[in-house]
Amino acid sequence: MKDSSFGFNRRFFVGGAAVVAAASFYIAAVARGALKACSYEDVEVGLPSELQSLVRIGNSYLSEHTKDGELDTLEGALFDETETRSANILFAVQRRLLALDRQVRDEFARCETVICDGWVLAKSEARLCAMVAARARRL
């Protein structure tokens, strides 16, 4: 078995972890008030191993499955600016987690899946990993 470790959220798995990870990147960027320019490799080395795994999955998706502009649309849907600037970001993330869990299950039922880094993932959760990867590049 290859080293496929990544941060499993035991309730929400990849999608949930990716939402939280994406949120964390977003919050980190806001809190620090600046984006740090660095290469993807630098970011990966600096990230916790679980995030590295999400980034690896995300990069797999970006290189094999993504279309132009797709991530912008996804980000807009996931992190509404008004919502994430409010004091209720905690609940916003939680709501997203619950909705994502339903969406991901539905996608599995419809066989709307992709294989990234060997994992069979619902398209939504794979796209979230791609967002994590994309944000990691920008930090």
Binding site: M1, I27, E50, L51, I115, W119, V120
Partner: protein
């Protein structure tokens, strides 16, 4: 065990002719089962065994194969050439074929048995007696719930749980004394059948067998009926090398002897990671005591789903990941991101890995998916005669085991289906290591030693070596027993079906003897 009344072929006078009513070649599961069906009857039965009562290096040298096909050097090594045959080390895994395994299915070329499941079911029940398996019940709910085990929460119309029964019956040890005591049965050890002789080149009656021993002597065994039960490789070899009277060999009128060599295909290609730390799925992980036998659950695709996908039959055994893999996974799944974790995340947003905490010290769980699937009948996968000779100057069998693209495609589609069900049910996620679009499976799948298919049954002589009663076409009194008869093998381990079809053959022979007035 010391046999009191058996003969040792090495001590039989050269050119002796022994005479019996029924001669069975091969004392493995099939041969011993048939012999037992004639215990204490008025029929004189001989049971010829190539080896002795225990493994013997000189005899084992007769088992060498010229292996030129898929993964050369790996196939046929599990065969044992002594009394009891391969049951001397088998795992005792028993499960019947599914009803649709007997049916002709359009997407599987050469599928279809000459009879249906209902025909063989009574023999499965009798085979349970031979194998000491208890009640003929393979319903997971009946067995698993009685043991207090849970099953995967999958839609059973998509991914089903199956149950197998286990009993490692060593046929030679279990039934040796019984055969030894029977006055009408003679076991002849160290006897290697080297040729099947017809009355003449135009006749359909087999009259005798030429038998050799490793001591160099040879003799003949005559009988009214003959059964060859030496395994899929040796059955084909014996028919092919009986080529003095029929040039292509006996039963080889349609060039089918040795073709359709099948194995079950075993390949570990992925794992399922659950989203709960301790799912109670121990039923799948090893054999559990169930009365005097063992039981264990597996997962399989139900017949309707296989039909929908038009793939070969698929089953997977479930194993826990290895220690090293578990260690990596332990690192991977130690985080349990909850609302509290998100709150903590707010104070240190980048440090997800440091704020999330493991809520339990229980070991991580991941399930290895060990595919154990049907090989589809393939005429190019075959046993022929090699140029190389064995110590008795007989041609070695040459094995050219070949897989087909459908075998691989079936596994790919089955794994995708399971992965979708794992995600849909909310149970977890699945990782597949077998690269889709590559030939990983075709290059690496191994056989567990279930050789089958080389004397396939079909009532049409143009499509089969043997008919529905396991009689070799264009012979009157030569029958075959064992898994070489199977036109199609499903995913079920073969021994239970070998024993069941052998009992069926014995019943047929009893009818023939009665009709002959014997």
């Amino acid at each position: 065990m010391e046999y009191k009344t058996s003969l040792d072929a090495r001590e039989i006078e050269p050119e002796t002719k022994l005479d019996f009513d029924l001669c069975i070649v091969g004392a493995g599961a099939a041969g011993i089962t048939i012999a037992r069906e004639f215990l204490n009857t008025n029929l004189r039965v001989c049971l010829l065994e190539s080896g002795g009562l225990r493994s013997d290096a000189a005899v084992n040298s007769l088992s060498e194969i010229d292996d030129v096909g898929h993964l050369p050097g790996t196939e046929g090594l599990n065969r044992l050439r002594y009394f009891g045959g391969t049951t001397n080390h088998w795992g005792g895994h028993c499960v019947p074929l599914e009803p649709d395994d007997f049916e002709k299915q359009d997407w599987i070329a050469y599928s279809g048995w000459p009879y249906d499941y209902n025909e063989v079911r009574p023999y499965y029940i009798r085979a349970h007696g031979v194998l000491g398996l208890g009640e003929f019940d393979y319903i997971p709910e009946n067995i698993g719930s009685g043991l207090g085990f849970e099953t995967f929460p999958f839609d059973r119309k998509t991914v089903a749980t199956t149950v197998s029964r286990y009993n490692r019956v060593r046929f030679g040890i279990r039934y040796g004394d019984e055969l030894d005591r029977a006055k009408n049965i003679k076991v002849i050890l160290y006897s290697d059948v080297s040729e099947i002789n017809l009355a003449d080149s135009t006749a359909n009656n087999v009259v005798k067998l030429l038998v050799k021993s490793i001591a160099g002597n040879q003799f003949y065994v005559a009988a009214k009926y003959f059964v060859i039960a030496t395994g899929a490789i040796e059955n084909a070899r014996l028919l092919l090398m009986s080529n003095r009277q029929r040039v292509s060999g006996i039963g080889n009128h349609s060039d089918l002897v040795g073709r359709f060599f099948q194995e079950h295909l075993s390949y570990s290609s992925g794992y399922i990671v659950p989203n709960t730390r301790n799912p109670k799925l121990r039923f799948y992980l090893r054999e559990w005591p169930y009365g005097d036998i063992g039981v264990r659950a597996h997962i399989a695709l139900p017949s309707d789903k296989v039909r929908e996908l038009q793939i070969p039959k698929y089953r997977a055994e479930i194993g826990l990941v290895s220690v090293s893999s578990a260690y990596r996974l332990a690192k991977a799944i130690k985080h349990n991101v909850s609302v509290g974790d998100v709150l903590a995340l707010m104070s240190d947003p980048v440090g997800l890995g440091t704020v999330a905490r493991c809520n339990s010290n229980a070991p991580p769980t991941a399930y290895l998916l060990i595919n154990h699937v049907e090989q589809t009948p393939n005429p190019d996968s075959r046993v022929t005669l090699a140029v190389k000779k064995d110590p008795l100057d007989r041609p070695q069998p040459q094995l050219n085991w070949k897989l087909s693209p459908l075998d691989q495609e079936g596994v790919i589609r089955a794994q995708r289906l399971i992965a979708h069900e794992v995600g849909r049910s909310g149970f977890g996620r699945m990782q597949i290591e077998m690269r889709e679009g590559a030939n990983d499976f075709l290059e690496k799948a191994v056989g567990p030693g279930h050789q089958m298919g080389t004397t396939r049954m079909d009532d049409d002589p143009a499509r089969g070596v043997t008919d529905g009663n396991a009689k070799v076409h264009y012979t009157n009194n030569l029958h075959v027993a064992g898994s070489s008869l199977f036109p199609r093998c499903g995913w079920a381990n073969p021994t239970l079906t070998i024993v069941a079809t052998s009992i069926r053959l014995a019943d047929h022979l009893k009818i023939r003897f009665r009709a002959d007035g014997v």
